[in-house]
């Protein structure tokens, strides 16, 4: 029974496909999978927008949206209707074609990332040997759509936002990739199902997730920071800083194109959370050995939504950083620390089984963290700001 429930979507797909002639079956299977992805993740996006607004409100002791439907849960429908019926304004001097293309490129590229995501046992659209590589390739191509949007709008705020976005995404893509390489170094595979399989198994009731190893924890932290920057979330939301850039690269977008950018941004959050879950948090595996009877896809989505909650929680806590702080943090802290994590991962790999590697690896990472943190903080000068040119 548990087994059936676990594979219910696969069985359903096979049942539908069995009505078709065998020559059409592979294509139909893929199309059904695509429909599943296109149905599930935008729905999650709609729910997340409400949860985010309500959660943020609660963090600020407010009520949040509660007007549309029960507890305000129909708010995304109202927002969707609003976005669809709004006038689509394109600036006179904008590059019309590129301006139109940018949100499409973003959404398509983000959706492509979901193709390799294992959302449950046997539940991924394409089982690629180099799935991780494919994911990062798709993630990187969202940058071009952002720059297309900023450039084609012919607006200084858009352009500034786009330039910030590209600078930020390129800076943080390096630690993002390097921290996931740590996982690849241990598993020896770029295939996501294999990475999940490598984390299967339990000691007592505790799972063998990579986040519970010293190198995995360090890599996970760096991955989380980089993911936050990569998805333009607070505190790294400079490209769309409302207070300084009027929404940044999508200033000149309205109506449904704006909604598409919004969708793309949240889908990016989902996909990068999905990758983080797959790489470090055991993918669709249960967190305790006695909970393995719960269907795997429930665990995957529970973990993703937890990650999303952390995103929201951080957004409710931290203010936006400055551009120089952002860059300093990326190049002077995150990148060196990720390189150190890579070294520690190698050490872990070659020290063999035993408690020594736990002590040595943890010690290296903690000492490095403290020293680097001190160095970063000691360089901060607290003095009245001087303006060289304004006075």
């Amino acid at each position: 029974m548990a087994r059936t429930l676990d594979q219910i979507f696969i069985l359903f797909k096979d049942w539908i496909v069995s009505f078709l002639p065998s020559s059409l079956q592979p294509v139909a299977g893929v199309i059904l999978g695509v429909i599943g992805i296109l149905a599930v993740f935008p729905t999650l996006f709609a729910l997340t927008t409400v949860f985010e607004r309500k959660g943020l409100a609660r963090m600020q002791n407010r009520l949040g949206p509660n007007r549309v439907g029960p507890f305000g849960f129909l708010q995304p429908i109202a927002d969707g209707i609003k976005a669809l019926t709004k006038e689509d304004v394109v600036p006179f001097s904008a590059d019309n074609f590129v301006h139109f293309l940018a949100p499409l490129v973003l959404v398509v590229a983000v959706f492509m990332g979901f193709a390799i995501l294992p959302v449950g046992r046997n539940m991924q659209l394409v089982d690629m040997d180099a799935g991780l590589l494919f994911f990062f390739a798709m993630g990187a191509s969202t940058e071009i759509s952002i720059f297309m949007a900023g450039w084609s709008s012919r607006n200084k705020y858009s352009l500034l936002g786009a330039m910030r976005a590209v600078a930020q995404m390129i800076s943080y893509e390096i630690p993002l990739l390097l921290s996931s390489i740590a996982v690849v170094m241990i598993t020896g595979s770029l295939s996501l199902p294999k990475i999940v399989a490598a984390q299967a198994g339990y000691t007592g009731i505790w799972p063998h997730w990579y986040v519970f190893t010293p190198w995995g924890f360090g890599a996970f932290l760096m991955f989380a920071v980089a993911a936050m920057a990569e998805t333009n979330r607070t505190p790294f939301d400079l490209p769309e800083g409302e207070s300084e850039l009027v929404a940044g690269y999508f200033t000149e977008y309205s109506g449904f194109k704006f909604a598409l950018f919004f969708l793309g941004e949240y889908l990016g959050m989902f996909s990068i959370s999905g990758i983080a879950v797959t790489l470090f948090l055991g993918g669709w595996a249960a967190p305790f050995s006695f909970l393995t009877w719960v269907p795997s896809w429930i665990w995957f989505f529970a973990k993703v939504m937890t990650a999303i909650f952390v995103f929201i929680w951080v957004r409710g806590t931290l203010p936006r950083v400055r551009q120089d702080q952002l860059m300093n943090f990326a190049w002077k802290f995150v990148l060196p620390y990720t390189l150190l994590v890579l070294f520690v991962t190698a050490l872990w790999r070659f020290m063999g089984e035993g408690w020594e590697r736990w002590v040595v690896c943890s010690a290296i990472l903690i000492v490095a963290y403290v020293i680097m943190g001190r160095l970063q903080m000691s360089r901060r000068k607290f003095a009245p700001r001087s303006y060289r040119y304004a006075e």
Binding site: N61, L63, W313, T317, Y369
Partner: protein, 219 residues
């Protein structure tokens, strides 16, 4: 250590998040159309006309003296004085406004009309939901729309209304007492005159030297 402040901040927001579901004091939001915060006693918005009794038209305290119209800084009050007199709430014949309009799109809520009114006839209202889709007609309130009972005045400004009522009662009592005294004095005078006339008439009648007849009201 690096990140310590972030953790502290996240703990704080987590406390707020959890606390907002538990403690009522944290949630200060008043959900306006359904819930309302009580307005302070001294709050004011636009003027209204007070009437005594049940019938607004008969009970209006306004006697169309037009002082408020003249004092109004933005000139948003329009009064037409009646040609005839009508008995007011006390029964005294008075002029009354045939038209009393206030343009609340012009009114600046300064309360000067209230301060200059010698008849306690115009007061400030607390009503603030006056939005209308008619920009000109809807914001020009006529005397029927402006008329509010004295009970309503008690409801919105209890302290002030009580004070006004005692003052009015005192004034009325004083006026009555004065009228009574005057009437008595007049009666006494009349009686005295009558007595004198009788005495004189008995002695020697002299019509040219007759004392003046006593004045009727003693005003």
């Amino acid at each position: 250590m690096l990140g310590e402040g972030i953790l502290k901040g996240m703990l704080e927001t987590a406390k707020n998040f959890a606390g907002s579901y538990v403690s009522k004091e944290r949630m200060v939001t008043v959900e306006y159309p359904e819930e309302r915060a009580p307005l302070p006693e001294a709050s004011r918005n636009f003027p209204f006309l007070v009437y005594d009794g049940k019938d607004w038209e008969a009970g209006l305290r306004c006697v169309a003296c037009q002082i408020c119209e003249k004092e109004c800084p933005p000139k948003c009050i329009y009064i037409d004085k009646s040609a005839d007199k009508k008995p007011d709430a006390v029964g005294k014949p008075q002029f009354y406004p045939t038209r009393f309009d206030i343009d609340i799109s012009v009114c600046m809520s300064c309360q000067i009309c209230v301060e200059v009114c010698p008849f306690e006839a115009i007061k400030m209202d607390k009503e603030f939901e006056l939005a209308t889709d008619d920009r000109f007609g809807g914001l020009l309130l006529d005397r029927q729309q402006l008329a509010r009972s004295n009970e309503y005045y008690h409801q919105i400004h209890p302290v002030e209304a009580a004070e006004v009522d005692t003052r009015l009662a005192e004034e009325r009592a004083a006026a009555e007492a004065k009228a009574k005294a005057a009437a008595e004095a007049a009666a006494a005078k009349a009686a005295a005159a009558k007595a004198a006339a009788e005495a004189k008439g008995a002695a020697e009648p002299k019509p040219a030297d007759k004392p003046k007849p006593p004045a009727g009201g003693g005003a």
